[in-house]
């Protein structure tokens, strides 16, 4: 069920721990060993040509003032991550595909040279540096200026990275010239280039650059994920999608066929990879059974105590009232014995104005005590007993004023009492009616379950279609041109017209405006109101629920899956396979990203950038374009050695994908061979390092004297260099 093997965990990123480690410069001092710099848009790699591998770091710097100590900081590469605020200040030398930010480049190069431990007043090494194919001359001019004037290098050679990597993988025997043929596909951060090579020379005039690179692919994946999971709890950024692109994405050899396969929800589900983001479960203190029981017992105990206290209070109050009552009764007793004066002063001292006040108080107390006693005894008071109204039937003439008042009061009480009794009877009757109805229905059900069920089901269907029609109408009304909206406008127009005509008609014909004579007339106002009458909606839904509950209770074939609620919230198998939902509160599930179609959709953009809105030929179409400018024999030489380089070329499946799209555009007897660089990430650097140590290398670079004479844009024409600005 839950294919756990499909889950990949997002690696938890940890801060770098190794600050700048300076190297010993002594082995290279005064040796003139070439210094190789692969200035990539993502990664800067540097080192002396004799090292086996370069040093490398993310090609970005950040200038930042630490808030606590107010100290300025300068960070390079991964070091930027050590200060959270520095991230936003990060500057990269590259802007997309163009080297543009030379302050950042200067700082990054400083880092590289410091790291190499160079302590001489100049960089006394010939420098080999990568350059984007057909770079704008502005970038070259400023880079040359930096190198010659700021770092005072003796010579500088620019080399295109794709060709350098090709060289590393096709190195000629020492002493023989470099004469390999091939077609280089260089996968960069912000672009992908196709460069034909014949006789060991890059034919840059026929090269093509596709404005789609790994950064775009990663960005596209991010966009797709954000659309699929708009409320994802964790932060998803480029570092995460980069990782996903590298770990779960691949090229489909035949993308349309893959899509047709994925149409089947089961296969779609099987093809997915689940990216589990880190999550923290809320802390739950697990209580044992015993503890829970104890807590409950404690609560009960407390309740009981409270009850006891309340009872005690009640008793005390009652006792107090009783003594009060007794005292007052005793007082009244004294009335007969005491003289009038004595009695009056006694009353005064007790706080009573008159005899009646005393009587009232006694009455109240008696009532209270009586009630409280009853309650104490646990008796329910019985209001059923008909109160007596002795005065009602006596004629007014026989009564004095006081009695008349009482009679009035009794009349009122009697009317209220009678009304209550009537209502009760009514209720009882209704209940009986309902019971009868239910009984009848039950009998019906017992006699013919199927008929009963189908009858109810029809009712359910009718209600559901009513609700559906209402929502459809609501949707239709949002569109001004829909039939429903037009009909509504017509109705409104008619009503308005009637209003105008009515008085005239009245005058002329003396006829009455008959609107409203029929109750159905009023329906017109419901019809033209846009906000559907909500009371109807509610009524329907409650009725629907009643019917569904009956069906659920008695019809064995009617299950939860037949209810209106289920049917309306149900998602298609395809959509639930595409984006499975998790239950509320499933934190692990909610921090998961399911990638299925995206795994192939994102790499496919290399072949159709228009999928992501970039109107440019993809890899295959660009190659076809290039082929159009070569003869058949040259084409054959190129496709015999299609060479992939650059870190993104490591996406799985690219070789069969490319093969599949090139085969149909070539003669069947031309063999196609596609190989990937031995080390797609480092071979550009290694190629330059290898080349820099051949005798030929000396002729490829620009010396300080040449720089001074020809300016910063001039380079020499050689097999690995750019053509623009070269001689």
């Amino acid at each position: 069920m839950d294919a756990t093997e499909n889950i990949v965990r997002l690696p938890i990123y940890s801060l770098p721990t190794q600050p700048l480690q300076q190297q010993l410069y002594d082995p290279y001092r005064d040796t003139g060993v070439p210094l190789i710099i692969d200035n990539g848009a993502t990664t800067l790699r540097w080192g002396f040509a004799t090292s086996s591998t370069p040093f490398s770091g993310q090609n970005a710097i950040a200038k930042y003032k630490e808030r606590k100590t107010n100290k300025p900081l300068l960070l390079f590469g991964e070091g930027i991550d050590t200060e959270s605020g520095a991230r936003s200040q990060a500057r990269a030398p590259w802007e997309g595909d163009v080297l543009l930010n030379f302050d950042a480049l200067e700082n990054a190069l400083d880092y590289a040279f410091i790291q190499l431990g160079i302590d001489t007043p100049t960089i006394n090494h010939p420098v080999f540096m990568t350059e984007r194919i057909a770079t704008p001359l502005h970038s070259r001019a400023l880079t040359s200026e930096l190198m010659f004037e700021l770092y005072s290098v003796p010579s500088l050679t620019f080399c295109t990275d794709g060709l350098a990597s090709f060289y590393q993988n096709h190195r000629p025997q020492p002493g023989t010239p470099f004469t390999s043929d091939g077609l280089v596909l260089s996968f960069n951060t912000a672009s992908t280039s196709v460069i034909p090579i014949l006789n060991g020379k890059g034919i840059l005039s026929h090269a093509k650059r596709i404005p789609w690179g790994a950064a775009h692919a990663s960005d596209y994946l991010l966009k797709l994920i954000q659309l699929k999971y708009p409320n994802f709890p964790s932060k998803i950024g480029i570092p995460q999608t980069n990782w996903m692109l590298q770990s779960v994405c691949e090229f489909a050899p035949d993308y349309p066929a893959k899509l047709r396969e994925l149409q089947d929800p089961i296969k779609l589900k099987a093809s997915e990879r689940i990216v589990q983001f880190p999550f923290a479960l809320p802390v739950q203190d697990e209580k044992s059974e015993e503890e829970l029981a104890r807590a409950a017992e404690r609560r009960r105990e407390q309740g009981r105590k409270l009850q006891e206290i309340a009872a005690k209070n009640r008793m005390e109050k009652l006792a107090q009232k009783e003594t009060d009552l007794q005292y007052l009764l005793d007082l009244r007793e004294a009335r007969s014995t005491d003289s009038k004066r004595e009695w009056a002063s006694k009353l005064q001292s007790e706080g009573f104005d008159s005899d009646t006040a005393l009587d009232d108080t006694i009455k109240k107390l008696e009532l209270y005590v009586k009630k409280a006693r009853k309650k104490e005894a646990g008796e329910a008071d019985e209001p059923m007993e008909e109160p007596s109204f002795p005065l009602i039937d006596t004629p007014d003439a026989d009564l004095d004023e006081e009695q008349l008042k009482d009679k009035k009061k009794q009349k009122l009480i009697k009317a209220g009492w009678e009304a209550r009794m009537r209502a009760r009877k009514e209720k009882e009757r209704e209940r009986e009616e309902k019971e009868r109805e239910e009984k009848r229905e039950e009998e019906e059900r017992l006699a013919d379950l199927e008929g009963w069920a189908s009858h109810l089901r029809h009712q359910q269907q009718a209600l559901m279609s009513k609700i559906k029609a209402r929502s459809r109408r609501k949707a239709a009304l949002t569109d001004r041109k829909s039939a429903a909206a037009q009909a509504r406008m017509k109705n409104i127009a008619n009503l308005a017209a009637d209003d105008n005509k009515a008085p005239k008609k009245k005058r002329k014909t003396g006829g009455e405006d008959m609107f409203g004579a029929d109750d159905a007339d009023w329906q017109i106002y419901r019809k033209i109101s846009i906000t559907a009458p909500s009371s109807d909606e509610e009524d329907d839904i409650t009725q629907l629920q009643v019917i569904e509950n009956k069906l659920l209770a008695h019809d064995p074939t009617f299950t939860d899956q037949n209810t209106h609620a289920f049917l309306t919230t149900q998602r298609s198998a395809l959509l639930s396979a595409f984006r499975p939902t998790y239950e509320e509160g499933d934190i692990e599930g909610h921090t998961r990203i399911h990638l299925s179609v995206e795994r192939w959709r994102v790499p496919e953009t290399y072949f159709s950038p228009n999928m992501a809105g970039i109107d440019s030929a993809g890899i295959d179409e660009s190659i076809q374009n290039i082929f159009n400018r070569f003869s058949e024999s040259e084409k054959a030489r190129l496709v015999k050695n299609i060479f992939l380089t650059g870190t993104p070329s490591q996406l799985p499946g690219i070789i069969p994908r490319l093969h599949n799209s090139l085969r149909p555009i070539l003669d069947p007897d031309i063999p196609i061979q596609i190989v990937r660089a031995a080390d797609p990430s480092l071979d550009a650097w290694k190629g330059m390092a290898s080349f820099s140590q051949t005798p030929e290398a000396a002729t490829a670079g620009v010396t300080r004297a040449e720089y001074d004479e020809y300016g910063p844009e001039r380079i020499k024409r050689w097999w690995g260099g750019n053509w623009n600005g070269s001689v």
């Binding site: 630490e66 001489t120 090269a207 093509k208 998602r571 179409e621 660009s622």
Partner: protein, 159 residues
């Protein structure tokens, strides 16, 4: 030759008023105070040249290329009248090697699922795979629709 190993310290003795505090991780990573003897102290960077933005740089590149082309054309025509110069001079510039527009047959993909999309919703312009996806499209808010469209590079024009 400067003294060996003189620059191995992490933080340069800058002003002598270093308060005794534990440097933060970021401070340990900072190389602001590492000496840079290899830099030419007399170099003044040209701030104006450095401040150019991408658009200007690419525009200039194109303009220069055009001027150069024109010049070479004149030069060749002067020496060899009637020569077809269009094929002759070919220097690949940044703009020139850009891939041509996409001309392969357009394939339509579902904006929601990425599957093949035979249909388009006329109200939103979203492409969709089948009626279940259509039902999902119906419940999308206009802003979400816009985001889906912009993922495909279609930016709706406000009418």
């Amino acid at each position: 030759m400067p003294p060996k190993g003189g620059f191995k310290k992490k933080v340069a003795p800058s002003d002598g008023t270093v308060t005794p505090h534990v440097p933060s991780l970021a401070e340990q990573f900072s190389y602001l105070h590492n000496p840079r003897p290899f830099k030419n102290p007399n170099y003044t960077k040209n701030i104006n040249r450095r401040a150019k933005n991408l658009k200007t740089v690419l525009g200039q590149d194109r303009e220069r290329d055009r001027a150069e082309r024109e010049r070479r054309k004149q030069e060749i025509l002067e020496t060899q009248p009637g020569f077809n110069v269009e094929d002759f001079y070919e220097v690949p510039t940044y703009a020139l090697i850009e891939s041509p527009p996409y001309l392969m047959p357009q394939r339509h993909f579902c904006d929601i699922t990425g599957l093949e999309a035979p249909y388009t919703d006329p109200a939103t312009g979203l492409r969709y795979h089948d009626k279940s996806v259509y039902a999902a499209i119906q419940s999308l808010s206009p802003s979400t629709v816009k985001e889906y469209l912009s993922a495909r590079g279609v930016n709706s024009i406000v009418k």
